[in-house]
Point group: C2
Chain length 351, copies 2
DNA sequence: ATTAGCACTCGGAAGTGCAGAGTGCTAAAA
DNA sequence: TTTTAGCACTCTGCACTTCCGAGTGCTAAT
């Protein structure tokens, strides 16, 4: 634990650097409210902070800049989250599209709202709830030997895919399909659908197996697609503006375009302890060593299902962004819970 | 019409500049195959070309660089399209996802294939065929007072939206809905669905009007969404690498993020004369004055319905890109026509 | 423990000089 | 009349130096 005065100085350095982007020198801190010491004393403290690794100087004759450890100490011990003003709330909320009722749409627009609000890049994932169950499966004929299969889950995810059959689609076939689907798929968790399950099912069909198996394979594909949470990234071009990325912004953008690592990033949260802040190399990718992420998980009912957050330079206003993202997450959780929780307790009717 | 020799010199300048990105000087052209003149003569010709506005020099002691007019002349009169190699074709094709049968998916992946192939940004639009008709509309109950409405068109576009009703959804209601939909919507062109049509329909419903009108409003929304072609843009970050955008790449990316002008860009083609090349300020936006576009329209059957193309710096390899994009367009047209044309001649069966 | 004072260090801006590339022009050659 | 060789000229980009200001660490005094 650092001594009081040193803490205050560190906090001041971090906050001022966040605001101005310039290294901050000892003189600039002389008239900190409630800190009546000369610049020389401050210099001594700064030397200590430097020795302890919380701040550093870009070059001998420059002021100090927080190190990653400095940000971390600030975030853990010194920062006090800002109160969100009414106008901020409205700004965050205004971009959301919940009227469509589509969670994917909501998360997409939530990301964009964050982009507008923060001027950073935003990342969001659609719900991936292992407790989700199959709500409905429809077959819609498109041409004699082709049909669209539509899958709907209890978390509101809707996926569809075209499927070619080997034989013409008759009304009989449709009825049979609807019957099998109703008996074998409705209400079961997505995780129960897998290759083995499909194979045993097809094997049990007897004569019809040949003509219908493509349909069930398509169902498996759809379940797969619905289980995997989609990742939305937006506002990447905002990052170009920040001088910390100056010349190698392209490298960062390229990294962000690859989907795989992104999935890791949002999913790797230890638990559902709410909001998570990762500074610089705490994100385990070299490309992010100059970036920070603030990630928050949203829930449907009591299950954490997805995440939303931002990516930007380590020099970001944590004390304001944390409550903002928390606020947004709360809205999302509430809305999704309202819409998709009620169903689990009441789905008896069927088409 | 320029004299033979001057044409050849202009073509050489354009091609060499495209390849190297460096201004090309008179000496570099001395040993052009079949052009046996000294650098001095070439200098004279270059002076002429400069006077006519086809080339320019960045500064006194630099070589020449094509102007916009120079590129235009080259593209119109001098360029001869490259033959596509087998490997090129495979590279283009390999990224396409036509197995899903979903045109939106196909166009999306086609854009990404172009991004990989060209290292530029790609733009593509989903089919928007004014002749498309409604193929199917399904209502899928989600909770007592909420249903998903799913719309499918003859061009394979699938749209869905959640809809809240004022009264609980009963089996009766579903049957009534299915009946009305079948009678009033199946097989009619998208353009026939509008506010007036919906209002008269609802008015004719009598007692049921109140409970069902939200459903039909949702249908109108879906039709609207299906009529409008979606624009996919990808590979923007590729553009960062080109030095012609050096410091103001952010400006271009911001421009590309706004959707409205993009729609203009792809739709504004004069006619369906196949491929269209727009160089620099021929795109009417100031942000694109250093960029070129190559846009090609694809067709379903005989109707031009959407476009796909690239955006990059004016210094792009037109002679190779034009046939590549043409090839890709042909694949798309062929596939979409195969899948979605046959239906128009054969949709009798229904669920 | 704090402060004033001072020498020291370093980055960035501005200025200087130089080599190289490419041009336009002129006068001779074809 | 067209082409060519030769040359003076212009301009960029790079390397090098100089200089100023900001900020530091250290020392000696309070």
């Amino acid at each position: 634990m650092l001594p009081q005065r040193r803490q205050r100085i560190l906090a001041a350095i971090v906050e001022q650097y966040i605001e101005t982007g310039e290294p901050v020198g000892s003189k600039a801190l002389q008239n900190l409210p409630g800190l009546d010491v000369s610049s020389a004393t401050i210099r001594n403290e700064m030397a200590e902070l430097t020795a302890q690794g919380f701040i550093t100087q870009p070059h001998t004759s420059a002021g100090r800049v927080p190190t990653q450890a400095g940000y971390r100490y600030y975030v853990d011990n010194l920062m006090q989250p800002a109160e969100l003003g009414e106008s901020d709330r409205r700004r965050i909320e205004s971009g959301l599209d919940y009227r469509s009722g589509d969670p994917e749409q909501l998360l997409q627009t939530a990301g964009e709202a964050l982009v507008d609000f923060t001027n950073f890049a935003a990342i969001s994932t659609t719900p991936a709830d292992e407790h989700a169950v199959i709500k409905n499966i429809e077959m819609v004929p498109v041409s004699p030997k082709m049909a669209m299969i539509v899958l709907l889950t209890s978390t509101g995810i809707l996926k569809s895919k075209a499927c070619r059959t080997d034989v013409p689609i008759t009304v009989d076939l449709q009825d049979a399909f609807a019957d099998i689907v109703r008996r074998n798929f409705f209400g079961i968790p997505l995780s129960d659908v897998n290759t083995v399950m499909i194979q045993t099912l097809v094997a049990g069909l007897g004569a019809k197996a040949l003509s219908m198996s493509p349909l069930f394979v398509t169902i498996a594909d759809l379940v797969e697609a619905a289980s995997v949470s989609e990742i939305n990234l937006s506002g990447q071009s905002n990052l170009l503006g920040y001088k910390e990325y100056n010349d190698n912004a392209g490298q960062l953008l390229d990294f962000l375009h690859r989907e795989e690592p992104l999935g890791m990033l949002v999913s790797s949260g230890d638990s559902d302890t709410g909001i998570e802040i990762r500074i610089g190399s705490e994100n385990r990718y070299k490309e992010l060593e100059n970036s920070s992420m603030i990630i928050s998980k949203y829930k449907i009912g009591d299950n954490a299902t997805g995440a939303i957050g931002i990516i930007g330079p380590t020099r970001m206003n944590y004390s304001k962004l944390v409550p903002s993202i928390k606020y947004l997450t709360d809205i999302i959780s509430k809305f999704l819970s309202d819409v998709y929780e009620e169903e689990s307790s009441s789905d008896e009717e069927e088409s």
